[in-house]
């Protein structure tokens, strides 16, 4: 009952505010829809002259709204910004209609490994990368540079002053990462490896439990 009272009071008290919010949220939806580069909340707030807290709150609401099952679009936080895209789970249906297929970024396993080392150890030099991978060959570095997934990050202050490398914003975009902190820690991989055997036998269970959790 208490909840109902609150609900009845609310409209009159905050009708203006909520209508203004709805208006602003609509504008945010339109903005996130049109932009090609992920936009930060700060950029948006500055451009439309609204306090960043408000914009952040409304963007979070927007993200939550589109996360619902009945939406085929989602607003994703990538590379520190917000961007609209189709949900991955509908890829089969959508693929039939996509005209300009973005050329898939095919990376060899050595290239992916090198990228992983750079992502976790940045800024890192070529000798350090080769040390971890146990292989000579800086050829993949060039591939990664060409694809703008990594960039040079100054020289290291050791003998020979070797160049260091770091990952780029494009890396975050291509791998759908919000920021570098979103990467699992290396320790987690170790534990994952140990758990794998245990999990494999247990994997059937969550799939059965899922519908029950929904009901």
């Amino acid at each position: 009952m208490q909840e109902m009272d609150a609900a009845q009071l609310a409209p009159q008290l905050s009708e203006d505010r909520s209508s203004e919010d709805a208006q602003l949220q609509a504008i945010l939806e339109a903005i996130v829809y049109i932009t090609d580069e992920p936009l930060t909340a700060q950029q948006i707030a500055a451009a439309i002259g609204q306090p960043i807290d408000k914009i952040k709150r409304l963007l979070d609401q927007l993200v939550a709204e589109f996360a619902k099952l009945e939406h085929g679009l989602s607003i994703r936080e990538i590379a520190g910004g917000y961007k609209m895209a189709t949900k991955a789970e509908h890829h089969e249906a959508v693929r039939a209609f996509v005209k300009k297929l973005t050329p898939p970024l095919k990376l060899s396993l050595p290239a992916l490994e090198t990228l992983a080392v750079i992502a976790y150890k940045q800024p890192v030099t070529t000798p350090e990368i080769m040390d971890i991978r146990g292989v000579q060959g800086a050829g993949v570095i060039k591939t990664l540079l060409d694809r703008k997934l990594i960039a040079e990050a100054g020289r290291k202050d050791v003998v020979g002053r070797p160049l260091t490398y770091k990952t780029t914003k494009e890396f975050l975009v291509q791998f759908g990462l919000k920021d570098l902190k979103e990467l699992p820690t290396l320790k987690e991989f170790e534990e994952l490896g140990r758990l794998e055997l245990v999990e494999e036998s247990a994997q059937a269970e969550p799939a059965v439990e899922h519908p029950a959790a929904d009901a």
Binding site: Y33, I34, T35, D36, R76, K83, M84, A85, T86, K87, A88, E89, H91, V94, V98, T102, P104, L105, L107, L109, P110, L112, E113, L115, A116, V117, A119, Y120, I132, R133, G134, V135, Q136, G137, Q174, F175, G176, L177, L183, P184, L186, F189, E190, L192, G193
Partner: protein, 259 residues
């Protein structure tokens, strides 16, 4: 004892990959590697690769040597008294650390690959072009007012600047020396010689400038710089600059010479 690699010869990206595969396929405890067995399997692989003309990189050979070295260290008996004083690390430890580190990055690479798979199933259709077409170029952060105000400042500055006006018709070497003195009174850094010559409006002015430069270089008032061979020639004020103009005598002497 059969090798896990008897039936097919896989390609490995490096010796660490090969070792990890041997260990994981045989479900060996990585913290307690039977080094003799693994070394033998490793060497078998290298031999098979050689038979099949598969070229292995130098790292494979280096790793083979490392494995044999670890094996021999494990066979050597240790002095128990020395062990008490200076407990020796397991000779395998460094290799195990490297293998684990390598394996972590292999998992990280796999994780990245999975993320790519998701990204490839996601499409975006930004419509910003529709809104951009209308105003192509970003505006200037300067107004007409700024432009005029700037021009006024420049003109004001020019008015108050002591400029030695050189009459192009009967310009002389001493005129040019005075002109150069003016220029280098304000400029302590190098000045492009070409810029100076380009400022001259007549052939006579250029010749006089050239002779004036020679005089001032001789007096060590100015020095010539050329950072790259065949590069731009620059002029720089030297320590003798003040001295050359201090008394009137040197200038007077030059003036005499040209008149």
């Amino acid at each position: 004892m059969s090798s896990p690699l008897n039936f097919h010869l896989e390609q490995y990206d490096g010796p660490l990959d090969l070792l990890l595969d041997l260990i994981r396929k045989q479900e060996i405890n990585i913290y307690d590697i039977p080094i003799a067995r693994i070394t033998q399997q490793y060497l078998e692989y290298m031999q098979k690769a050689a038979e099949m003309d598969i070229e292995l990189s130098a790292e494979f050979v280096y790793m083979a040597a490392t494995l044999i070295h670890i094996k021999s260290r494990m066979l050597l008996p240790r002095d128990p008294e020395l062990d008490k004083l200076l407990p020796e690390e397991d000779p395998r430890q460094e290799l195990v650390d490297r293998l684990l580190e390598h394996e972590r990055f292999k998992s990280a690479a796999e994780m990245l690959q999975q993320k790519r798979v998701v990204e490839e199933a996601v499409w975006s259709n930004p419509q910003i072009a529709q809104f951009r077409a209308e105003d192509d170029d970003p505006g200037l952060a300067v107004t007409l007012f700024d432009l005029v105000k700037t021009f006024q400042t420049v003109m004001e500055r020019a008015k108050h600047r002591p400029v030695y006006e050189v009459d192009t018709e009967d310009v002389s070497v001493p005129d040019m020396i005075r002109y150069l003195r003016n220029v280098f009174d304000q400029e302590s850094g190098p000045v492009s010689a070409r810029d100076l010559f380009e400022r001259q409006r007549s052939r006579r002015a250029m010749i006089c400038l050239f002779l004036a430069l020679l005089e001032l270089v001789k007096l060590q008032a100015l020095g010539l710089t050329q950072p790259d061979s065949f590069g731009e020639i620059g002029l720089k004020r030297l320590k003798g600059f003040e001295a050359a103009f201090a008394g009137g005598e040197t200038l007077a002497a030059i003036e005499q010479g040209y008149n």
